[in-house]
């Protein structure tokens, strides 16, 4: 029999429930607002950065900004070459990652694949506690403890140097890598490990040849997080690496980073709309571009190694 196509009245039991509908809408709206606030803040920050930098680039040419080798915006004889700050940022970050990537990865492999349940339950919270230590404490730890220690080996090392700041920053970042990478490795299904063991593999071979490649995407995410942390870290470098913009990639020298310059200037009282004031926004824009680039690279790499189990 064919369906009767004439309009039927809707039984009240099946009719749309107005109250439930309204409630759902309200909840949806609140959730959307919460999500939008984060997006809005980000856009606002970018807009301010762009706006203030615009004033800066009316005075300073992009060519001078990116090719100049001297950064002295606050001096009588002002120069606006951002390279020394970029060099400082890259050098401290490189030292930090040289410590944090291997140590963090090994810690993650240990925690995920070797540690007993009990060991993990104790070690992980301790590692995560390290995340809660204020970064200024790490800064003074670098300046007052690690630098003198390094000076025993390296008597010529200046009091402010990027090596000590980078090393301590690396230690500071280890828990980030360890924690995120460990989560990624633990998410690898047990069936994959069993497959490896069933072939006669040892625990170490399983960890290295099966679990780590399977967790690549998460491990890369951990590294990207670490890079962003290192590039954006402020207190440790401001305190321990010095405030002198110097174009050098030698970690045994002191040099200011982008972030160190920004705090230094922000703490002084420069008149708004002065070129010195605007220069911190230009520097901030470069910082933003750097982290964005690393994040984009990370995103692409993650997509390439998307988990496929």
């Amino acid at each position: 029999m064919l369906n009767n196509l004439t309009e039927l009245s809707i039984s009240p039991r099946l009719a749309k429930n107005i109250r439930r509908n309204v409630k759902e809408r309200v909840i949806e709206f609140i959730l959307m607002m919460a999500a939008l606030s984060a997006v809005f803040t980000t856009f606002a920050i970018v807009a301010i950065l762009l706006y203030e930098s615009f004033g800066f680039f009316e005075t300073v040419s992009l060519v001078e900004f990116f090719t100049g080798t001297v950064w002295t915006p606050l001096f009588e004889d002002a120069h606006y070459g951002i390279m020394p700050l970029i060099a400082g940022t890259l050098t401290t970050s490189f030292v930090a990652l040289a410590v944090a990537v291997p140590v963090g990865t090994i810690a993650a492999i240990y925690l995920s694949e070797f540690a007993s349940h009990k060991t993990r339950e104790i070690t992980k919270p301790v590692l995560e506690l390290l995340v809660g230590v204020p970064t200024i404490a790490f800064g003074y730890f670098a300046l007052l403890f690690v630098t003198p220690l390094l000076q025993i080996i390296y008597p010529d090392l200046p009091g402010f140097n990027m090596l000590s700041a980078g090393l301590v920053m690396g230690v500071m970042i280890v828990p980030y890598i360890a924690s995120v990478a460990e989560d990624a490795m633990r998410a690898v299904p047990m069936s994959m490990r069993e497959g490896s063991y069933a072939m006669g593999a040892t625990r170490f071979q399983t960890a290295l040849r099966v679990v780590t490649p399977a967790a690549t995407s998460g491990i890369v995410a951990a590294y990207i997080l670490a890079v962003s942390r290192a590039v954006g870290e402020t207190m440790v470098v401001a305190v321990a690496a010095g405030q002198q913009p110097t174009l050098t990639f030698d970690p045994t020298e002191g040099a200011a980073t982008i972030t160190a310059y920004i705090v230094q200037v922000a703490m002084g009282d420069l008149p708004h709309a002065s070129i010195g004031y605007q220069s911190i926004f230009a520097a901030g824009l470069v910082l933003f571009a750097m982290t964005l680039t690393f994040n984009l690279i990370g995103h692409v790499v993650r997509k390439k190694y998307r988990e496929q189990y």
């Binding site: 069993e194 497959g195 490896s196 063991y197 072939m199 593999a201 040849r209 490649p213």
Partner: protein
Amino acid sequence: MVNTSTPIKAESKDLNFYYSNGHQALKSVSMPIYENKITALIGPSGCGKSTFLRCFNRMHDLYPGNKYEGQIIMHPDNTNILADGVDPIEVRMRISMVFQKPNPFPKTIFENVAYGLRVRDEKNNRVVADKVEEALKGASLWNEVKDRLNDLAFNLSGGQQQRLCIARALATDPEIMLFDEPTSALDPIATANIEELMNELRGKLTILVVTHNMQQAARISDCTAYMYLGEMMEYGDTDTIFTRPVRKETEDYITGKFG
């Protein structure tokens, strides 16, 4: 068919097994595994088939707190592979396993099959390449993948992945192969492929296979064991078990009256 002159490859003797939560999943299981024959394990869900199978390659050692009692004697060594002094890795080098769900590694097709040789430190690439080809042929997969050995294994279909896992297990020349419901995740055609494959392996390799499919057990196995609640209820020639089972429970299970 097995007869009195068929050599025994392995033998479980009064095997008890306890999971870490104290649950006893195997109760005094004794049965022979004949050399180069296919032995099928059947029984209702939860009766301990997988548990029993995984004792043979000491898989339970991966989880703390599990406990074996009793023996699995492996020949020709005449050694109890559950003994404390036995290295589980050495056992797994000789007793390989194929799982219910295909579990390829995040590697290329070639490296998946080569895995067992790599962990055995085989350095000679010629030997590895030959073994990989032989294993893929043995698993009837060679023709489908020979032009794409460097593709990721995840790009294969489910049935191909399962045959890849069989190739992976074959590449190391195991003496015993354990199959835990190898076709339960596959369609009828892929299932037929794998059954045919196991048929070809008969006579070259000792096989212990868990299956929920009565027809499959009847088609491919030489001997069949019926398990129930952790106990071995009946063991014998597949023909005998399927035509003249001794116990009423076995008959009920096989004919589908129960389970």
